[in-house]
Structures are given as C-alpha cells and as structure tokens.
Amino acid sequence: MLHRRIYQFVIVYFLGLTFLFLIKYVLNLSDYVIPSPQEIWHTACRVFARYLLDVMDTVSVAIIGHILSICLATIVGIIGRLTTWVGSFIKVAAYNIQAYPIVAVAPIIFILLGDGLSSRLLIAAMICYFPLLLSFIGILSEPVGHIEHFYDVTERMSWQLQVKIRAFENMNKLTTVIVGSATLAIVGTIVAEFIAASAGIGYSIRIALYQSDLAKILIALFLIGIFTSLYLTCLEWLGYLTRKRWDRN
C-alpha cells in the first residue's frame, strides 16, 4: 500500500517536472523562470536537510490538528445526529463557517494568537474540521434500520450503541472521510505557515517565493508529497486494522 502510493506520487511529480522542462526548453526560458535540472539538484543538495525538518514540523502540526478536529467532529457529530434544534443549528453553522475562506480568517487568528504553534494548529484544525463534521453528522444521523430495529424493539438501545452501530456500518465511509481530510489538514497548516507563521515548510515556501526561487519550491513540493503519502497510508492502515478488529469482535 505504502510503496504504491509513494511510487504513484513520484510518477506524478516527475511528470509535472518533465512538463515544466518541456516548457522551459521549447520557449527557451531562463533558469530564473524555470530552473534547470542541475539547479534543482544543487538546490536539493543545499536545502534538503533543512526542508526535511520543516516538512516534519508541518506534518506533526497537521497530525495534531487533524486528531483534534476528528475528536471534535465526533463529539459534535454525536450531538448533531439528534433531530433536534441543536442538530440542525450545528449543521447550518458548520455550512456557514465553512464558506469563509481561511485566508480571510487567518490574519485575525494570528493577530489574536500570535504566529506560534497555536495559530497553525487552530487553522489546520479549522480547515479539516468542517468537512469532517458535515460527514460525521451525515453518517451518524443516518439510521441503520435492519440492526437498530432489533435493539429498539427489545428496548436495549442506548446512544452509545447507536453511535457504534452507525460508525461500524459506515466504517469505509468514515475512513475515506478521515483520509480525505488529512490532506486538508496538511494544506491548512501550510497555508497558515505561508500567511503568517514563522516556522514550517509553508514559511520556507514563502521565503523562496520572495527570492523567486522555484527550485526550492519544487524541492518543498516533493517532500510535502512524500510525507502526505506516508500519512495517508498510515491512516488507511489504521482504518484497515480497526475494521479487522471490529470484524473479529
């Protein structure tokens, strides 16, 4: 699973790179517009170690933010599954807040919380939280009639059991949503770092952009891609283990 994801990413990355080189040599563009393969290689030798640490920093913040938003989405999803006023209010609020672009909200967060870890974490969580929440509410408020009916009739149904049944029956959907939102968490963290933080790969990309250094940006993209693939594979593997364990039980 891991090696497939990695080599698929590498193929996509190098196809993109080839396309860039094609444009460069067909249009006879200088290294300032599109760097040459040698320049990318030299830049990689120079910045690889530093960027590796930056990406690890970013991914660690993204993972924490992702876990926080999964926990929060689960709690709110459980409350929101109720067909009451609270449930519908949460849904509407989630849709509305999701409509705001993070680049408009992020500066306010940075003014209030500074450009440290907390702001990056909050933005990462915010970006992946709302899609997660909407899916969780959808999944947890959808009754699994043929199973729940039995417990309802025998009056053994509790809210914990209801959540378990609905989560178990929709495990594939939940895994897909969590894996999908993981990329959003990484993107959110990078965007936050790009806008205002002073650490992480988003911050390094911003500096490279100021220096008009596309080679550095390409190296950063490569590392982001590799680490995103690793994280997604880990999540898929966790989903697979959970399903297996529940099947056994």
């Binding site: 563009l29 300032y32 940075f110 003014i111 450009d115 952009l209 100021y210």
Partner: protein, 382 residues
C-alpha cells in the same frame, strides 16, 4: 430602380448603417494606431506608482502612440518572469530581483531607475528608541521580512558595522503592524513614502512621534524600483522603448511637479480610494524627495555605482553564486540619449551633406547663369 421610394428608404438605411460603421471604424482605426504594451508594476496601486498612473491617465502614453495596460503588482507577482513569458513588455522590479534574475540568465535590461533614494526604511519611535547610528541598533528588536530585500539591506548594514546577530533580535514581519504598534518591535521596515506616512499619522494622532532609520545614510545604497524590459524588446522594438520611457519619465516629471500636485493627488485617489486625500498629499511630498532628492538629479537616472554596490552586497551575502556585471544591462535614459544624440549627429551629418549639395546646386546655378548670356548671345548671333 433608385426612383422607387422603397429603394430610396433602403438606400438611406444602408447609407446610415455604413456611416455608423465607418465612424466606428474610424475610432478603431485611431485605436489601432496606438501600439499596445503591458506594464507590470511591482506593487499595488499606491503613491509609489503615481508617475506611472499619471502618464496613462493624462494621455502621455497615447500622445507617444502607445496604449499601455498598467497591471498592479504584489508579493506573488514577478515582472521579470512576465517579461520573459511575454505577458508584459515593461515592468518594475527592485535591483535585487534584477540581479538575481541576471545570475540565472534572464535577458532583462534596466531602462530607468525610479527611486533615486531607497524608500525602504525602518520606522521607529524616537522617544522610546534612540538611534543615532547603526551602533544603536544593538539590543533592539528589528523587524525584517525573511527572504525580502529588507533582510538583505539590514544584514549588509550589520555586517558593515560588525554587529553580531546575537546583539540584536530579529522579528519576522508580515503585513500586520500590530507588533510595532504594541511596542513588541522597535524598528519596522516600511516604504517611507507610503506606509511610513500612514503609520506616522496614526501614531501622531496617538501623541507619538516617528523617525525613519535609513541605511543609505550609513553607506548601504541599495537600489530600489527600476523600469525593466527585455533584450528582445531592445533589439526588435527600440522605438517602442524610446517612446515608452520618454512618456513615462515625462509623466513622472509632471506628476512630481508641485504645479500639478492636485492633479497627481486626484490621479492616485482614483485608484487608491482607501487612502484619504490629506494623506496622499503628504505621501506625494515624500515620494518627490525620494524620486528627486536634489534639483540636479534627473528623474529616471541610473545610479550605476549604487547598482554595483547592490551587486557587491548580494555577492557578500551569497545571494548570487557569482558576479553578474550588472552595469552591462543598465541601458537607461543615457543609453537612449546616446542613441538620440547619435541620430542627431547623423541628422546633422545629413544636414551638412544637404547643405553641401545645396551649395553645389547653387554653384551650378551660378555657372548656368554665367552661361546664360553666352547662350543668349549665341542665339542672337544665330
């Protein structure tokens, strides 16, 4: 056929349609007469581009036969890349951008230097932070944009005055000035003529004074915004460059002329609605000082020594892998002036030749007139 009233009406309609089209056509023709070029600025529309906008709005480009599309810049915009991709024919870039691009083989040429003094300076509160010279920077928190040219300037200054990194604190700067307002940062990098006036005004209202720390005064003359084009344009469309730069510099001269102050202010206010007119007036005065610091300095002049110094700074800080001999691409006003004087000398040469021909002609005429009596004598003899 024509006598038929129906045909007359139809003919009238057709004629009026033709007339309408032809008048429209005339307009287009006039429009087509203008050469279209795109000009990518370095930053958003504000006082730093007053001359550029003035030239366009007051028809100076059109007078020179150009229709110029002026595009706003921004942190993600890079005029040099756009020139190379032919998305623009002229642009504004800072010296560090140009030198970086040169080191990577970009075919860029500088045709005028806009700011003669770098507007990028550091604002501070003199009552709280006393700064007489670079030595006073020790122990202070200095805002810099990592990767930006303010970082390069500040590091060059610190290196020149042998101030170690552990003797000062750097603060990563963004567009939000809160850390400066709150006093968390002592010196904050700004464009003195634009944000400098706005922040100064705000702090003045709060009863605080502001001063500007200018590295140029301490031997770091880092060149700022310049007008650029490509080598291809220089080879293929030298006339367009000459018309463009003549118009642009005329526009800048007019915009900065105190006699046209209100016209210039109105031009900027048309594009920058958020800045009050009172502030724009102050910004214009500050811009005038940076564009023309003394009467003998001509607008658009390229300070070759400052460019060389900028290259040296970038080399010292290893921002470029090797020397680029930046002076070779500094075409500038003087290049076009040379070109013109060449044309002028050629013209005078042609003029001399013409007058020589004229004198020869008159000599021939004189000879003819000398011959005439002889001929008439000859006829009379016959």
């Amino acid at each position: 056929m024509i006598a038929n009233p129906k045909n007359i009406i139809l003919a009238c309609i057709a004629a009026s349609i033709l007339a309408a089209f032809s008048s429209g056509g005339c307009g287009k023709k006039a429009d087509k007469g203008l050469e279209e070029v795109t000009y990518r600025l370095k930053w958003l529309f504000n006082i730093s581009v007053v001359g550029d906008l003035y030239t366009d709005v007051h028809g100076i480009f059109a007078y020179r036969g150009l229709r110029v599309t002026i595009k706003e810049g921004g942190p993600e915009r890079d005029a040099i890349k756009e020139l190379e991709l032919d998305h623009a024919q002229f642009g504004v870039a800072s010296a560090d951008q140009v030198i970086r691009a040169l080191s990577k083989g970009a075919p860029v040429v500088v045709i005028a230097q806009l700011f003669q003094a770098n507007p990028l300076q550091w604002i501070y509160r003199p009552e709280k932070t006393r700064i007489e010279g670079p030595e006073d920077l020790k122990g202070k928190t200095i805002g810099i944009t990592y990767g930006g040219n303010d970082e390069t300037i500040m590091r060059a200054l610190l290196s020149k005055y042998k101030i170690m990194n552990n003797e000062i604190r750097f603060f990563s700067v963004r567009y939000d000035y809160t850390p400066f307002y709150e006093g968390e940062v002592d010196l904050w990098p700004i464009y003195q003529n634009a944000e400098g006036v706005v922040i100064g005004e705000k702090l003045h209202k709060a009863g605080e004074q502001v001063s500007f720390f200018n590295p140029d005064k301490f031997g770091i003359p880092f060149v700022s915004n310049s007008v650029i084009t490509t080598e291809r344009m220089l080879k293929e469309r030298p006339g367009t460059i000459r018309d463009f730069i003549s118009a642009l510099l005329q526009g800048w001269r007019e915009a900065l002329d105190p006699a046209n102050k209100e016209k210039a202010v109105a031009t900027i206010h048309r594009f920058d609605r958020d800045t009050p007119i009172k502030i724009i007036r102050k910004q214009l005065a500050a811009t005038r000082m940076l564009m023309k610091p003394s009467p003998e300095i001509e607008i658009g002049r390229i300070d070759v020594e400052a460019w060389k110094q900028t290259e040296r700074i970038m080399l010292e800080q290893k921002l470029i892998p090797g020397p680029v001999s930046v002076e070779k691409i500094l075409g500038g006003v003087h290049r076009f002036r040379d070109h013109r004087s060449e044309i002028r000398s050629r013209r005078s040469e042609v003029g001399d030749q013409k007058s020589e021909i004229r004198s020869q002609k008159s000599e021939v005429r004189n000879q003819k007139s000398d011959l005439r009596p002889l001929i008439s004598d000859l006829y009379s003899f016959n």
